[in-house]
Symmetry: C2
Subunit: 268 residues, 2 copies
C-alpha cells in the first residue's frame, strides 16, 4: 500500500518521513488522525512528529479539524495534484476527447498511461448516472482486471504478456476474473481481433467496461481509455457499437499525440 522505499544512499531522511506521513493521512479514515494515532503508527516521538505536522500544516499539505485536533488532507494537495494533472501530457491533452466520449456514451470514462504494460490511471470523468465508481489515480494497477489493462497488454509481444502475468500474479477480484495464463492469452487474442477490450465483471461485480489503446508518435502504445458502467443485459451489437465508439475516441487521442493508428496485425 505504501510507496516504494528505495534504499538509495544519499537521501534526506526527514523529508522521506514527512512524505510517508502525508501518505498515512491521505489514506486514513475520513475523520482524520490524531497526533497520538500517528505516533503509534510511525513509532516516532511525539515532539518530532508534532514539528513535522506543523510544517506540513503551514504549507497547506494538511489541515487541522477541530475539535480533538485531527489531521486531514489540506487544500495544497488538491492544488498540487491539479497542477500536476494539468502538466501530465495525456490528462491535459485528451480531456476534451474524454468529455466527449462521456457525453456520447453516458458513462464514466477513464484514461490510463502505459507503464511498461501496466496501466496507471491519470484522469477520470464521471457520467451523468448517479452510481459512482472509485478508481485511484496515479497508481500502478494490475493489468488483467481492467479493459484498459487488457487493451494495453494486447499491444505487447506474447512473451512479455506472460512475463507480466507471472510477475503480477493474476489476482482474483471476482469469480469472473481471468486467473490463468491460457485464458488470458485467448482473451488477448480476442482483443487483437476486435480492436477493443471488454471487462465483464472481472474487476468488480456488476461493473462492465470497454477499453481501447492509443499510440504515440513512435508507434508505441501510450495508454488506453475506457468506459465504465453498471452491467445491464445488453445485446452483442450494442457492446460492439460501444467498442467502436471507444476505439474511435482512442484513435482521436492517437492523432493528437501525433501517432499512427493501431496496427491491424498482431505484434510479434
Amino acid at each position: 500500500m505504501s510507496l516504494t522505499h528505495e534504499k538509495h544512499p544519499y537521501t534526506v531522511e526527514s523529508v522521506s518521513r514527512a512524505l510517508t506521513l502525508v501518505d498515512h493521512i491521505v489514506t486514513a479514515p475520513n475523520e482524520g488522525l490524531t497526533l497520538a494515532q500517528i505516533v503509534r503508527r510511525t513509532g516516532a516521538s511525539k515532539g518530532a512528529t508534532h514539528a513535522m505536522l506543523r510544517t506540513l500544516v503551514d504549507h497547506g499539505y494538511l489541515r487541522i479539524s477541530e475539535p480533538g485536533p485531527r489531521y486531514l488532507p489540506g487544500m495544497a494537495l488538491i492544488r498540487i495534484g491539479d497542477l500536476a494533472s494539468a502538466r501530465e501530457p495525456l490528462a491535459g491533452v485528451s480531456r476534451s476527447i474524454l468529455t466527449d466520449l462521456s457525453q456520447k456514451s453516458g458513462l464514466t470514462v477513464r484514461i490510463a498511461q502505459n507503464d511498461n504494460g501496466y496501466p496507471i490511471f491519470v484522469e477520470r470523468i464521471d457520467g451523468p448516472g448517479t452510481v459512482r465508481f472509485y478508481t485511484s489515480l496515479g497508481l500502478r494497477e494490475l493489468p488483467h482486471v481492467s479493459s484498459v489493462g487488457k487493451a494495453i497488454l494486447a499491444e505487447l509481444p506474447d512473451e512479455r504478456i506472460k512475463a507480466i502475468a507471472e510477475n503480477s500474479g493474476l489476482e482474483a477480484r471476482t469469480s469472473k476474473t481471468i486467473t490463468t495464463i491460457p485464458r488470458l492469452m485467448s482473451e488477448i487474442h480476442k482483443v487483437r481481433l476486435q480492436g477493443y477490450a471488454v471487462d465483464d465483471e472481472e474487476d468488480a461485480q456488476g461493473v462492465f467496461c470497454v477499453g481501447a489503446a492509443f499510440f504515440d508518435h513512435s508507434g508505441q502504445c501510450a495508454g488506453g481509455i475506457s468506459t465504465t458502467g453498471i452491467k445491464t443485459d445488453q445485446s452483442l451489437e450494442s457492446v460492439q457499437r460501444l467498442g467502436e465508439l471507444v476505439l474511435k475516441h482512442a484513435n482521436q487521442i492517437t492523432e493528437v499525440l501525433g501517432g499512427k493508428k493501431r496496427l491491424k496485425s498482431v505484434p510479434k
Copy 2:
C-alpha cells in the same frame, strides 16, 4: 505565488525546503527544470538539492525526464491530490450534481468552498465544448472577479464585504472588473435580489459565468457553484433561465449538506 511561510518556531526546515521545491517544479514551465536551474532559484547547494530531489523522486513526487535530466511533477502528486479531493466533503458529495449541471447547461462547472468570504475552488467539470478554461484548484481566490465569489459575498453582512474588499484590493482583471466599493455593493444588492450572481467578462475577456451559493446544516454559506462559458449575445431571459438552473443545483447541494435553502431576506 509561493505559499505562506509562517515563521513558527518549531518546524522542520528541510521538509519546508522540500515542499517549496515541489511548488517550484509544479509551477515551472512544461519541459521541467534542471538541477542547475533549481539551484539558481533556491540558492541551496548542488549536493543538498540533489539529495532532496532524489528523495522526492523515490516517493514519486517528482519524475526525471531524459535526456538532460529535468525534473517534472510525478504520479504520486496526482494520486495524493485525487485522494485529497475525494476526502474533501464538498468535492466528493456534490460531484454528481455538478455533472448533471454540466450536462444540462453544456457548460464548464466549478465548485468553491467559502473560506471566510473568499472562494477556494475544489472541483471542476468541463463542458462538452472545445474551449478550455483553466482554474487553479485549492487556491484562495479574490472574491470580486468571479460569480461564485460574488454569490458568497452576498451572504455576508455589508460591513464584512467592505472589509474584504479593502483587504483584497479589488484588483482589475479586465476593463469590466468591479474596482470600487460602491459598484461592488450595488452588484451585491442585485445578487441578493436574483439569488444568483453573474460574471460578465469581469475576470477574463469573453468569459461569462453564472453562480449561486449553497448552505450547510448550520445555515452558513458553505460555498458556491458556477457555470463558465464563452460570452455570446444572449437574451436577458436566457441568462435568467441559466441563473435559475444554477440556483436549483446549488439548492440540491444545500439539501445534501443537510442545510436550509437560502434565505430570501437580506442578511443584516
